[in-house]
């Protein structure tokens, strides 16, 4: 971390950048916030640890509109989002100085809390263990058990776009990685009724707070259709289950082929809805129907939904597959 701060100071000093976009120490040990640092002095609050889950690519949309260049710290997985934003002309590559930072996985404090650890005052890491000081005494928790779901199925440690790397294990495979489609497959194997009940249960928790949308680097619309009157969809209410379904289906559809599977939607959902399972369904379908595609791997390929081949599967595949 000190190396990151040192480098940030250098780049500020030599005028390469006029601001630094990183994470600022929070007040609970697990709640650092994305922050801009405009001076060496401000960098004293800089932090980079497992709780720095926020994908800063989203913030670069605004940062690119500001005067001068911005130094941004991106984790390997965040760089996919950045590339995707370049492709969609939402950020300007030349306005960003990207330092790719190594990532050991980002953490979910709720996993710790759900294990019954309350009153956390501070957290430190000791090898594979999180040491937690709480008002109810000292506690320990295995680092890997606190990983966000997305990190258990890590895309890899390779940065897709950067100016320099610090602490990154480029080319290295992520640790033991699960099958990211496991849950999607499980759902697919269920009966339609079971699937319906699963999603009904999950989506009915939605409070329409838009955290998923606003944190999502692919949801970069200036004006979301759900906020505009273009389709008479601006209902802003969770008055009926249909509204939530509609919102989440369309949101997933709009990011289909553009979603890098960064997992921010699920990370930020206050109701813990596994929204990534919607996006991953599209990713899985796209891979199966149109060939493997990873959004954000490059900045110039055509996205699956703005592309086609003469031999594409027919929509009837959905029925045929169901009958198997």
């Amino acid at each position: 971390m000190q190396e990151l701060v040192k480098r940030a100071k250098e780049l500020l000093a030599d005028g390469t950048v006029v601001r630094v976009l990183g994470w600022k120490q929070g007040d609970l040990g697990y709640n650092p916030e994305p922050a801009y640092f405009n001076s060496e002095e401000e960098l004293k609050d800089f932090v980079y640890d497992g709780f720095c889950g926020a994908n800063l690519s989203k913030y670069m949309i605004e940062a690119c509109k500001m005067e001068g260049n911005t130094l941004v710290f991106l984790k390997p997985c965040d760089t996919y989002s950045f590339n995707q934003l370049i492709k969609e002309h939402r950020v300007k590559r030349e306005k960003a100085y990207i330092i790719g930072v190594g990532c050991k996985g980002t953490l979910d404090i709720d996993k710790v809390k759900n294990a019954g650890i309350k009153g956390i005052e501070s957290i430190s890491q000791d090898g594979d263990t999180l040491k937690l000081k709480t008002i109810y005494g000292e506690k320990e928790f295995p680092f890997n058990d606190a990983l966000l779901e997305r990190c258990t199925v890590c895309k890899g440690k390779t940065h897709q776009v950067y100016d320099e790397l610090i602490g990154a294990a480029e080319g290295e495979e992520a640790g033991p990685v699960g099958n990211r489609f496991e849950m999607v497959e499980k759902l697919e194997a269920m009966s339609p009724k079971e699937r319906f009940e699963f999603w009904q249960g999950e989506l009915s928790k939605c409070i329409r707070c838009n955290a998923c949308r606003n944190a999502c680097p692919a949801c970069s619309c200036l004006k979301c259709v759900f906020d505009s009157n273009q389709f008479d969809t601006a209902q802003k209410a969770n008055v009926d289950t249909f509204e939530e379904q509609m919102f989440h289906i369309i949101r997933a559809f709009h990011v289909a082929g553009r979603c890098t599977d960064c997992g921010e939607c699920s990370r930020v959902c206050p109701q813990g809805i596994p929204l990534h399972l919607l996006n991953r369904k599209f990713i899985k379908d796209i891979n199966e129907f149109y060939g493997e595609y990873q959004a954000g791997e490059d900045t110039d390929s055509r996205a699956p939904l703005t592309n086609y081949t003469f031999e594409d599967v027919e929509p009837g595949i959905v029925v045929e597959r169901g009958q198997k």
Partner: protein
């Protein structure tokens, strides 16, 4: 003071629900939220804070105000029925109870919001003391005692028993309804529990925030503070803080075309949204900084100035744990000069 064994709580709930609608924290898909009690519902009294506050029971996120229909060229209006039967909200924390009072100041003062008033009139608040307050809690800052919730009925979970004490007439009436399930109890165990709770609260990291800066500064001085510009940037402009907040009371009124008519409904709105109070000419607050400032100035300055010093934050800490960008009112209070 009465008590009932924890293991017999479902009988208590059944007894209440037999007479009145009962809302209480229910776990569904891993999350606790207030919901209507049914026999199948998984009641969750252990989770300190539900994701959404019980605000929904009095001021639902969405409610239909009236329906209109075109009947042979004439407009027929069918107003929504007001709450006319008593209902019980069980398990409210002290902060959430205080939050209802914050809402009362808004909705029960002239002009009275009849939808809200009807619910308040018929709602019976059963509060529960916080056995193990958490690091995100800071109700003490607002003079709320988590050990002594001020509702119609206060309850304490001590060991294997729930202690029950009616505090108002409504509370007495409810107690009568379930009297046969309750047994008399002395207050010793509860007193001990209260002391324990208060001791924990003293140790909480945010319990000693200092609000004097908001009391002592001029409104415009706070409003013009350059610190807002420094603070707002991580804000994603989502409405999470607003929608989990027990005191946020802003709503929008919209029409829904059902095909056969129009339903006019109101739904929570968030001052964090860019289309909040959108008018024909646009929005008065054009930047996220202004929207961000609005929310916190309202909680900490405008509302108290208009309501005899009552803050419209109750320190429940929901925003502290739910903000996707880890921003929250505590950080704001500290930054504005309230670091204890």
């Amino acid at each position: 003071m009465y008590k009932i064994e924890k293991s017999r709580l479902s009988e208590l709930f059944a007894a209440i629900a037999a007479q009145e609608d009962l809302f209480l924290p229910i776990k569904k898909c891993d999350q606790a939220n207030y919901g209507l009690w049914t026999e199948e519902a998984e009641v969750d009294l252990d989770t300190l804070k539900t994701v959404k506050s019980p605000k929904d029971c009095f001021f639902p996120q969405s409610e239909t105000l009236y329906k209109c229909k075109n009947e042979d060229g004439k407009l027929a209006i069918d107003p929504a029925k007001l709450q006319d039967k008593p209902f019980v909200v069980f398990g409210m924390r002290a902060c959430d109870v205080q939050a209802v009072k914050v809402l009362d100041n808004v909705f029960l003062n002239d002009p009275v919001d009849s939808y809200y008033a009807a619910r308040r009139e018929h709602g019976i608040l059963v509060a529960m003391a916080c056995h193990e307050p958490e690091e995100t809690c800071f109700c003490k800052v607002f003079g709320i005692d988590a050990a002594n919730p001020a509702a119609d009925v206060a309850t304490w979970m001590v060991g294997e028993d729930l202690y029950w004490k009616a505090l108002t007439e409504k509370g007495e009436a409810l107690t009568k309804l379930v009297e046969n399930l309750l047994t008399d109890a002395d207050e010793a165990a509860v007193e001990k529990e209260k002391k324990q709770i208060q001791a924990i609260i003293e140790k909480l990291p945010f319990s000693h925030l200092d609000l004097s800066v908001f009391e002592n500064s001029e409104l415009m001085e706070l409003f013009d503070s350059p610190k807002w510009e420094e603070m707002y940037k991580p804000c994603l402009a989502c409405g999470t803080c607003t929608f989990v907040c027990p005191t946020c009371q802003c709503y929008d009124i919209k029409d829904f075309n059902t095909g056969s008519g129009v339903q006019r409904y109101r739904c929570w709105d968030s001052c964090m949204y860019s289309d909040f109070t959108m008018m024909a000419h646009g929005n008065m607050r054009t930047s996220q900084m202004q929207r961000f400032r609005q929310r916190f100035m309202h909680k900490l300055k405008y509302y108290p100035d208009n309501n005899d010093g009552m803050y419209s934050c109750v320190g429940c800490g929901r925003c502290v744990s739910k903000c996707p960008a880890s921003l929250n009112i505590v950080k704001v209070i500290k930054k504005m000069g309230g670091e204890a």
